[in-house]
């Protein structure tokens, strides 16, 4: 078996994790070059080749799978660099996207600017047609008008077309006809049909998702194509896959035409790996947190499965495709601390980002950040940041906090730094609580799986607030997304609205719809040579009549069809799920199905991570010194032992207070906490 490569292209770094089939992993990090991601990737591959004692070409020869996690879609949307896009929609409803169901991001800010129009009004053309809620044609498609609209878009030089008609999720015939007309008119650009990208009720959500796909698609397609060819020209002869927002991998050409489904391609890998690593350590219910420079990503993992959701927004556009349910708050190492008009100390949401970054980076940053506070408090060491690759300027950090925070508030600089640290932790903890509680869970039932450069510095202080007892820090914490990509399976997710009162479901009809969804999923899965076995999971979104929030209920079907019993069971389980999520159930009240969901997972052979035996408990061998570290609970600085992560062996027991320095991660073991490195070199930290 050849090399399996997982790649995560981030804003600052490009991470690679390579498995050679033995269960051992090789990790490497190289700086990203925005605009030319291939460079960072090739650099990383070169490192790897060297590690395996081969030339790049030879190494790529032996590489049969590369899985890429990319933030390209998010970046396109952040910078609005998408294609010149046109929309054809139901006549009389061309402004749905601007009305946006009245969403406004700030309740009282009357000066809030409107979202950037990714499809300006004059490129949103209505044509006469109407399909009703039963899927019947109320008004037939006016073909001449449609043709005229297509010609107009052609004149306007659009590079991509989105089509979204009311109720197309039940009857797509009009949308399909328009796609045909686009071809007939020789407008040779990709066409995105809402009935294909998201055949799901609620026009605003479906339309917005469709538009984002059309907007991002051309650029994503060429990006992936270029990447593929540059890899091949470097000698790669295996297959390139892309991480899907749903936490599974997909073929590169499917990825291009379903660009919007790559929204979470980057972070999804981390969650997948977090789930996998945690379950190896024996924890199936975890909250994964990824703390980067600008953001803090939280996700729930239940029974080792990342929970998925459909509530995402990107650059103020709604994306309703199912994806790993990652909740992001604008709090990271780069978050800026400031004092508002009322004299209150605030942290974030503004961030110094990677450039200029925190003051201590010495890249021209002047605003004190969380990282600067961490440095002053002794959590990170000026000399060993990124394994020493970057030297931090402690004096500058101190000066900035003194001048901008401590002075004005009349407290000493360490008090101020500790304040920044606590406020940042508090908002992160609240984010975690929000994610769990709003999904009907109790944080105390979960372990915390921490990764990302700064996560392990802060999580130890947050966990107790949430009543969390155990914290896990994977050895590969700094490159976890890449690891996730390297480990992931194929996964295609399909949604189809299917609106029926639960007491009026025709089983055959239901099976017919699922069968069609499965057929489409298998088509999208494409070549299955890498697939060991496929697993199909079916779900129904159900709600009580009158409600507008659905509960997704699994159908426990082991065959290719849903049986009378499967259905009955699912319907009765709905009430209990509702009870568990929302504290009450009303079995006597009528309920209705809204959507059907189907996951097709193609399991592939990935070498299991290697388990190592425990050695001696005593970590003395890994000790590399002591330094003064500030612990509020100890009322100040405490002389704290520092351990070299590279020397920590499975079985080592490290009592807090202590610092463990991995090359790209620092782990703070707070007083009263105790860390041990387990069989997979994951740090399991127990909290009183």
């Amino acid at each position: 078996m050849g090399y399996q490569v997982g790649i995560d292209v981030g804003g600052t770094f490009t991470d690679l994790v390579i498995g050679d089939g033995s269960g051992a992993l090789f990790k490497t990090k190289s700086p990203s070059t925005p605009g030319n991601e291939a460079d960072g990737i090739v650099a990383g591959l070169t490192d790897a080749a060297a590690h395996y004692g081969a030339g790049l070409a030879a190494f790529l020869e032996d590489t049969d799978v590369i899985v890429l996690g990319t933030t390209v879609v998010t970046n396109l949307m952040l910078e609005y660099r998408g294609a010149n896009t046109g929309l054809i929609t139901t006549g009389g409803f061309r402004d749905v996207i601007e009305l946006r169901r009245s969403y406004r991001e700030h309740l009282f800010d009357i000066r809030l600017q409107p979202p950037h129009p990714i499809v300006p009004r004059h490129k949103r053309l209505g044509v006469h047609e109407r399909i009703n809620y039963r899927g019947e044609i109320e008004i037939p498609l006016d073909e001449d008008e449609a043709r005229a609209a297509v010609r107009r878009l052609k004149e306007l030089g659009v590079e991509s077309v989105a089509v979204c008609f009311l109720f197309s999720f039940i009857n797509p015939v009009h949308e399909q006809r328009v796609a045909a007309i686009v071809a007939e008119e020789g407008l040779d650009v990709p066409v995105t049909l809402s009935s294909e990208i998201l055949p799901q009720v609620r026009e605003f959500e479906r339309l917005s998702t469709t538009m984002v796909n059309a907007y991002a698609r051309p650029k994503v397609e060429s990006y992936l194509h270029d990447l593929d060819s540059s890899l091949r020209s470097a000698g790669f002869s295996g297959e390139l896959f892309v991480m899907h927002s749903n936490g599974g991998m997909i073929h590169v050409d499917y990825a291009g035409s379903h660009a919007v489904e790559l929204l979470m391609s980057g972070p999804a890998g981390g969650v997948v790996a977090g789930a996998a690593v945690s379950s190896l350590s024996g924890y199936r219910d975890v909250i994964t947190v990824d703390m980067g420079g600008t953001s803090y990503d939280v996700c729930l993992v239940k029974d080792s499965e990342p929970t998925s959701g459909t509530e995402a927004w990107v650059s103020r556009y709604r994306v309703a495709t199912p994806m790993v349910d990652i909740h992001t708050v604008g709090a990271g190492g780069g978050s800026i601390a400031w004092i508002d008009e009322g004299g209150a100390l605030r942290v974030g949401p503004r961030s110094a980002g990677a450039m200029p970054g925190p003051v201590c980076y010495g890249r021209g940053g002047t605003e004190p950040t969380v990282t600067d506070a961490d440095l002053l408090l002794g959590y990170i060491s000026a000399g060993y940041f990124l394994g020493g690759r970057m030297r931090l300027d402690e004096a500058a950090a101190r000066a900035a906090i003194e001048e901008k925070i401590a002075g004005p508030l009349g407290m000493d600089v360490i008090e101020a730094a500790s304040g920044i640290f606590r406020i940042a932790n508090n908002s992160m903890a609240n984010a975690m609580r929000h994610v769990t509680v709003s999904r009907g869970r109790d944080p105390r039932d979960f372990a915390l799986c921490v990764f990302g450069g700064a996560g392990a510095i802060h999580a130890g202080a947050q966990a107790p607030d949430l009543g969390i007892k155990t914290m896990l820090v994977p050895k590969a914490a700094s490159v976890l997304s890449a690891l996730g990509n390297q480990l992931s399976n194929f996964k295609i997710t399909k949604v189809q609205s299917f609106i029926r009162r639960t007491n009026a479901i025709e089983l055959d009809e239901l099976n017919a719809v699922f069968a069609e969804m499965l057929r489409r999923a298998e088509a999208d899965l494409g070549d299955q040579s890498k697939v060991r076995e496929t697993v199909t999971a079916r779900y129904m979104d159900i709600r009580y009549v009158g409600q507008t929030h659905e509960v997704t209920v699994p159908i426990r079907s082991r065959t290719r069809r849903v049986t009378e019993l499967n259905l009955a069971t699912a319907l009765s389980e709905y009430h209990d799920l509702h009870q568990q999520l929302y504290s009450f159930k009303r079995p006597e009240h009528p309920s209705e199905v809204l959507n059907l969901r189907l996951d097709l997972v193609g399991v592939r052979d990935v070498a299991r991570l290697r388990s190592e035996p425990f050695g001696d408990e005593d970590p003395a061998a890994a000790a590399k010194g002591v330094r003064q570290v500030y612990f509020e609970e100890r009322g100040g600085f405490v002389e704290t032992p520092v351990y070299d992560g590279d020397l920590v062996q499975p079985g080592h027991l490290i009592a807090g207070p202590a610092i463990i320095e991995e090359p790209d991660t620092t782990i703070v073991v707070r007083p009263g906490q105790e860390a041990m490195s387990d069989h997979y070199r994951t740090y399991v930290i127990e909290i009183q």
Binding site: F93, L99, R101, S102, L107, G410
Partner: protein, 583 residues
Amino acid sequence: MAVDVIFGEIVREYFETVAREMNTTMDNTSLSPVFNEAHDCSAGLFFYDGKDVSLIARANAEPVHIYASVHSVEGLIRYYRNDLADGDVIMVSDPYFYGSHIPDWTVMKPVFWNNKPVFFPGIRAHMIEVGGPVAGGYNSDARDVWQEGFRLAPMKLYDRGELRRDLLDLLKANNRQPEIMEGDLNAMIGACRVAERRVIELLEKYGIEQTLEATNYILDYSERRLRAAISEWPDGDYHGQAILDYDFADTRDINVECTLRVRGDEVEADFTGSHPQTRGYVNSRPGNTGSWVYSMFSVVFDDIPINSGFFRPISLKLPEGSVVNPLPPAPVGNSTICIGNDVGQATIKALEKIVPERVGAATLDLVVDTYFGTDNRFPDNPFYVSVEYFATPISSGAAYGVDGWGAWSTPHCSLKLTTVEMQEIQYPVLYLQGEYAKDTMAPGRWRGTPAFQMQRRNPDGCTVIHCIFVQGCEHPLQGFAGGGSGDGNYCILDYGGPNERKVTDLAFLYPSQPGEVIFFQSGGGGAWGPALEREPVSVLADVVEELLSVENAREQYAVVIDPERLVVLEAETEALRAQRSGP
């Protein structure tokens, strides 16, 4: 002090999260679209120091509820002052018993610590049905408050944790949709319970003293900031006016006068001179009036956390027997918007005189169609009531530096539009149109939002009864600093049919026919600044986006555009503008 700042911030954010969780619970568990789609409800966390009741945290939701709910919770606590126990859940709605209008129910649960009630999570929500003569609770024939629905005095629904089922059944007996009402009520109570758990956790962690210290810090913080800001305003009296078209009875052109008397770091909002209370159901009780005043201040100071500290520097003077402070038994049903909106407009027009660049469209008028009938698709339970938010979505307008956009104005945008598809699945209707209309924007340096036009067709084979209320046709939403006002609201019955009729005020219990089409226009908010100061390039953009005709570009903005090439003709434009602005 120093530690307070940090700890205070931590507790503030904790409380805000609690309020958010209450709203989430409402969203997820309520049955009525008014809550889970339209979010016509709001959560708050209150505090009682044995003397005053203070709001300490609230979640984004209908702001008209915010101050009103303080009023109600204050009333409830006063009512039960000597009769509160752990496990109680109490509620109230009556307009003359601490409420605004009968459909707005406030449910509150005292949180006990050391056998003393300290914190009070409360939910205020607009119930879709409240009994009374007319389904949906909007009875424009009402001439006294009894004709508006079942009057709810303060009620202890749970007594020491035990449900008083006779009270619950009483509520259900006076409701056309008891099942839904019970579901929504459970959601409200559930939300309060969630908050209770979380507040207890906080108290367990920090103890009462520290928590109260932080609570006071939170209140003082907002007060301090508002006082600081106000003291920078020149002392003086600043006046604003707004006029309501119609009271749905027989009074027209109902004026609301607001004089802001700025003295040092305090403001008095004096409504002397406002129209006497009227026969129609547009009279606004103090709780509701206050809400609109404070909402406007929150718009001007959108970065100051809203809590009772924020209310302290602002006092109200509401003449008794006027539309802003009616005497019993005046009907009040529609006042949360009609008159409420005018209180808001009068207030922000007065603020315009102080800080023009911080004001803008922030109020809400209505074309609302509450319709009901039977839906043959669901024979087991065919009766339905639908409050048509989709008829009335545009009230947003311009502010300094931004054109009007979107649908509902800040800060009412927590109301969410339902989707056409969901409406058609839930109710027997078909929408034929729902989009912006050309040449309808309030002209100005920053223009208003285009008017929204909607057409809805009845299904064949069933008639529907409508209660259609229109405001803002005679007196549309006003502009600011010389900007034009909105295009105005109206509705056309039997649109394109033999009995076509334009409605500019009221069509009460109107029975529409099978297949009948009804047309609605929601006119959009006002503009900011003189139209002649609008950048020609922005005018051109509106033309390109098919929102403005070349003729109106010239007419309203004195911008001359070549209709073929769609470019601004600089010279002609300069000439025309010079001539227009000339004497």
